[in-house]
Every structure is written in structure tokens, then in C-alpha cells.
Symmetry: C2
Subunit: 196 residues, 2 copies
DNA sequence: AAATTGACTGTCAATACTGATAGTCAATTT
DNA sequence: AAATTGACTATCAGTATTGACAGTCAATTT
């Protein structure tokens, strides 16, 4: 009884605002005031919903990992029918709005905060491992005759090339940088083709 | 006349301490107190040597870019005699202490601060472009008959794979992650070989 | 309508951080 | 030895940030 709780929804909104602030100001630079302004709420409410600073950062970690995992799962499902390396690369590099670019930046920001918040390490590590695994599975399904180790290497390489591209976004680099990673990923994929 | 100035030397020491703090706490988390403790100095001295916060961050930017450029130049000179792609990859991935791992992390942290300190963008962009250029020149010299565009893509790819590896260091990932990037770089290099 | 529950606000205290200034001490020149 | 210059220290004021708590308002149940 009593007033119905919107805690779950509101908490997600606040975490989303937190994410935007981390992208702009970094983990330590994202103050309660910034987050509140971004979320359109008063400062004390942030604390009300997320707790003190440490709890906030850990909650952000969970949120980022959760969102990241959902994107990973979406990718897996999308390529389940036609698990082709080219489709994987297209999905990664030409996903129009499918993947939230903030996730990658936040992920890196949180990785760099591990020394202060060691609890972040495990979930961050595991979610990235899951991402790699999906890519590996797609490459393996795509090239059943190829060497397994080669497939793993190619999958890792494609993902890593994708990650770097995102990391440079705030630098507003020339488009060629992005294209190069994309074409390098394609070249990497080609190494798995049969050589007659 | 007067007491001899150690400003230049001390400034570099302070900037080095700043760099270490940025690796640990991020750009906004690296407080004057942290930096002073790291440098073994009193807090007001940091200001004395580097000026206010904005000047400090810009000075750090210059310092990181300068160090990065020196490493780039070292790489270029080291591979000038035998400009081979494999040597490039070895130099990048198996450089024992040659490359300061803090540079990469600081570089990324500064990239993420561009929105707050827009002056950082140009030097950061240019120094990375110089890094790419050295790699491209080595690949071109190594494969004079190969398609030029292909060489550029491969060079970009190798560098990007290297960068990702460094970015994950705070996550303490399994060694396989590093190996995968290394082998992916090798595979990418192989795509330039002549196909009979 | 009363009670209950939770979202939300206002406000204060404690602390952390930066900016700034006056002043001390050390090394060099004349 | 006096003067000069710069490294370094002590300390204060102003602001930003967090933490905490009391209290108001809204929505739902009984």
C-alpha cells in the first residue's frame, strides 16, 4: 500500500544521467549537481535513489555492464540466423544507433577507476569476455573448417578494432580513422578464407 | 645571479607525478594534494610551478604529447635501418619498458577531457597522426609492391590493436587478450604478402 | 476520510579543493 | 658580507562537494 514506487524506473533514469556526465566529466568529475541537472532532479534525490558516492559508482558499474550485456545479447540474436563474419563487422561498425556510444566510453572510464573501486573489476571483465565470446562463436560458425585458434584471434581482433574506433570519438578524428579500422577488420576476416 | 633555477627539471617531475595521478584517479580526480604527495612536495609548490588548474591540465597535455612524440620518434629511428612490419609489431608489443604504459592511459583520459579543455584536441590529434604516419611509412617501406591503401589500413589496424591492449591494462585481463591482439596484428601484416 | 508509504524539497554541517598572498630559507653574484 | 633571485612554506579565504536529516506533498489502501 501507499504511494506506488517508481524507484526502478527513476533509478535507471538517474543512472543514465550519471552515464552522460561520466562521458563529459569523467567518473570523479561527475558531481551530484551535474547528475541532478542532467536528470532534471534536485541534488538530494540522487542520493535518495543511489546512495552515497561509492554506491553510486558501483550502481553505475552494474548499469553499464547490464546495458553492455544486453547489447551483446542483441548482437548474438541478430546474427544467430546468419552467423557471418561480414555481418558481424557490419553490425559493429555500421550499427545506426543500435549501440549506445556512451557505453564504450563509460566502460573505459570505469576500467580506469578499478584501482579506487576494485569491486568493478570482475563484472567489467566478465561482460567483455561475454562480448568476445559472442564474436568468437559467430566467427567459428561462419568458418567451421578454419583453425579454431585462428578464429579466436580474428574475433578478438575485430572487437578490439571496433573498441578503438569508439574510444577516439571525443577527439573527432578524420573519418579515415574509422574507415581504416573497419577495413582492417574486413582484412582480418579474409585471412580465414580458404586458400586454394 | 641569484639562486639557480631548477624550474625546468622540477616542472617535469611535477608533470610526471601528475601523470601518475591521472592514471590512478582520472583528470578530475587528480587533486593538487595527490600530485604534491606523489611528487614529494607541498601543495602550494604545484601551483607555483604549473599555475592554476587549467594551466596544469594544458601543461600535462603538452607533456604527454611531447613524451608520446619522443616515443614515436624513437620507434621511427629504431626501425629506420630495417623497416619490417614484423619488427614494428615486435617493437610495439614486446617493448620491455621502452614505452611508458602511463602515456596511453593519460592520452585517453585527456581525449575524454576535450569537451572541457578544447585546446587539447589539436595537439592530441596531431601526435596520434604522427604515430600512424610512422607506422604507415614502415609498412610502405616494408612492402613497396603492395597497394598503398592496403598498407595504410594495415598500419592503422596494427596501431589500433596495440592501443586497445594498453587500454585494458588496469583491468588486468588474462594474457590471452594481449596475445590475441598481437597475433591479430601479425595476421593483418600477412595480408600484404604476395599471393602466388 | 484516515493512514500509510514513498517521491521529493529545503537546508545545514563537515569536508575537500582551489586560489592567493606573505613570508622564510637557500644559493649565487658583486 | 650585502644583495638578489628563486625554491619553498605557512596559512587564510572562498567555493565546491558531499552527507545527513527534517519535513512536505502525492498516491494509494483500508
Amino acid at each position: 500500500m501507499g504511494r506506488p514506487s517508481v524507484q526502478d524506473q527513476r533509478k535507471k533514469e538517474v543512472l543514465d544521467a550519471f552515464m552522460s556526465c561520466v562521458v563529459r566529466y569523467g567518473v570523479e568529475g561527475a558531481t551530484l549537481e551535474h547528475i541532478a541537472a542532467q536528470a532534471g532532479l534536485k541534488r538530494p534525490l540522487i542520493r535518495h535513489h543511489l546512495g552515497n558516492r561509492k554506491a553510486m559508482v558501483l550502481a553505475l558499474g552494474e548499469h553499464v555492464v547490464e546495458t553492455f550485456s544486453k547489447q551483446t545479447e542483441t548482437l548474438r540474436v541478430a546474427l544467430d540466423e546468419h552467423p557471418d563474419v561480414r555481418n558481424l563487422i557490419e553490425a559493429l561498425f555500421n550499427s545506426d544507433g543500435e549501440m549506445d556510444p556512451r557505453i564504450n566510453i563509460c566502460y573505459q572510464a570505469l576500467v580506469n577507476s578499478i584501482e579506487i573501486y576494485p569491486e568493478l573489476r570482475k563484472p567489467l571483465l566478465e561482460s567483455m569476455e561475454a562480448f568476445y565470446k559472442v564474436a568468437i562463436d559467430i566467427v567459428l560458425a561462419s568458418h567451421p573448417k578454419a583453425d579454431k585458434q585462428a578464429c579466436e584471434i580474428v574475433a578478438h581482433g575485430i572487437i578490439n578494432l571496433f573498441i578503438t574506433t569508439d574510444a577516439f570519438v571525443p577527439l573527432k578524428p578524420p573519418k579515415t580513422w574509422g574507415y581504416s579500422s573497419y577495413f582492417a577488420a574486413l582484412k582480418l576476416a579474409e585471412t580465414l578464407e580458404e586458400k586454394p
